[in-house]
């Protein structure tokens, strides 16, 4: 069997068949769950997507997608949301990591703790906190700006507001990963660089950046996937509004499925969503070929 050829085993004195059997027994819960709650659902999605509401096999759902202006604007919003969030989170996290790493005071760990606290807070509460802050009448922001701005109520500002709130929660995530990466660069590299006479900028460019490149890519990947999946903030802060200006794809799918109860169309949209993510991940991996850093190599026969 094609699959069996790739097996290796640590356990002693047993042939491949025996090893595979033990492996299968141990992995069976995962396998069963995978089949029931991943494979079957995907199959269901396909079934629903390719049937019309009367139950007949048809491509009507996909045809409808091309004629759906709301889908189009959701995709645009999602892109907007994604690019904005990634920009904010990645640059913020990166900057914070670099700054903290270069800082040599005694308060270093205190700062690390402070910077990572937002990550521990539930997204709902985060939404709540920002509701308080962005309140047009009583909130502090508007006071500082000296004029009331209806942040969450105006179509142009709603999305940026969500991006900021989302950034507040996930900048620490990016920060943590990159900071850990920076910390794990061996000191000797920096010492050698200083002996060689490099200044700070050169050290950064030739030592630091190459060392953390894989980590940055992983941080970017994980961060992106998390952002694309986002739902809670939109639901709580704006419920898609004002109008449809904060409809992102995940929210739109929810609406179609559970407010308009058009399951078939929603299934088609879900497949589209999965497809978009798949393309994105594939493109990222191909462009950067850092798969080996993702810890997957542990299963890939490195003995």
């Amino acid at each position: 069997m094609l699959l069996l050829r790739e097996f290796q085993y640590i356990q002693v004195k047993m042939n491949r068949k025996q090893a595979a059997k033990i492996g299968l027994v141990l992995a069976s819960p995962l396998l069963i769950y995978f089949l029931v709650f991943f494979v079957y659902p995907i199959f269901l999605l396909f079934r629903y997507a390719f049937t019309s509401s009367s139950g007949a096999l048809s491509l009507s759902n996909f045809a409808a997608m091309t004629r759906d202006p709301l889908l189009y604007s959701s995709l645009v919003n999602t892109l907007y949301y994604f690019v904005g969030s990634v920009a904010v989170q990645f640059s913020g996290g990166f900057l914070a990591a670099i700054v903290l790493n270069s800082y040599t005071g005694r308060l270093r760990n205190v700062f690390r703790m402070i910077l990572y606290i937002p990550l521990t807070i539930s997204p709902i509460v985060i939404a709540l906190m920002w509701l308080l802050i962005f309140n047009p009448t009583y909130g502090p922001i508007d006071y500082i700006l000296r004029r009331p701005v209806n942040w969450l109520g105006s179509p142009n500002l709603a999305m940026p507001t969500i991006i900021v709130a989302n950034g507040w929660e996930y900048v620490p995530f990016v920060f943590l990963i990159i900071y850990a990466g920076l910390q794990s660069v061996p000191k000797q590299y920096y010492e050698a660089a200083s002996i060689d006479g490099m200044n700070r900028l050169q050290t950064f460019r030739y030592i630091t950046m190459p060392s953390i490149r894989p980590i940055m890519i992983i941080a970017f990947l994980l961060n992106s996937i998390g952002i694309l999946q986002g739902f809670t903030l939109v639901y709580v802060l704006t419920n898609g509004g004002p109008g449809f200006s904060t409809y992102i794809l995940s929210f739109y799918i929810y609406k179609v499925a559970f407010t308009y109860f058009n399951m078939h169309y929603a299934a088609a949209l879900s497949l589209l969503f999965i497809f978009i993510i798949a393309v994105f991940v594939y493109a990222m991996l191909k462009l950067t070929s850092v798969e080996k850093y993702l810890g997957i190599s542990r299963a890939g026969g490195n003995e």
Partner: protein, 284 residues
Amino acid sequence: MKKLNIVLLIILLIFSLFSLFPIYWTVITALKVNSEIFTTTPVFFPTKITFSNFYTPGQTFGAVSQTAFGSLPWLINSTVIALLSSLIGTFLIGAPAAYALTHYLKNVWFGRTVLLMMMIPEAALIIPFYVIIIRVNLINTWWGLTLVYLSFTAPLSTWLLMGFFGDLPRSVEEAASIDGLSAYRIFYRIALPMVMPGIIVSIILNFINAWNEFLYALVLTYMPFPSGAQTVPIFLTDFIVIEKSFAWGGLAAAGVIVIIPSIVIGIYAQKYLVRGWTMGAVKE
């Protein structure tokens, strides 16, 4: 490099301010008197403190008669479901799978599949999950939601523990084999205890994810305990929606109550949480 340090310090302070201000604002709002909340010139340093937003006899958290105690039914649901999903995901599914994938079925594609499981968006899976859960009559139940939550706790546990199991010294397992232990016994009595730190990371991380989860709970539950399995995030959301227009103080108080345990756990379990979040990204 004293000068540079000062610049860095300033930047860090700005970040910290940004990090802490929302929390600070929420906390003081919870403690403010209504007159200081509903002013057009916000009060950054309250002059009067009150706890009435937390508890006033007869009415609490504003106009709706929801007491902090009243959120108990949702708390019960959340606790049970989060515990079930994190424990089952880690012990029953994740650990044996991770062990198998690092010792017996060492094929790259299996690891990739696990990763893939985590990348499929909730919004896409919710529809088939909804259909399945309704069909098996588990809608609005603990088990219904737990089974769905396993869709992220199981792969995450597996992925985390694969790292830990992969690092185990081979010789100890070989010694066990020579001592006469069977493969399953080696897993259960030797390998599993040796990855305890990883297990803790997995349980904590999964617990938090399950606790905060929103979309699945929104769709698959509709009533609090004992009539249903609604979780804390749903309760909070309804609360926000209802109270949005007037009971800011109460809202803030609700927020404070929820944040405090999160932050406390965040500080104490720091070691584990950080390890979990950076796991696989950085080899420590």
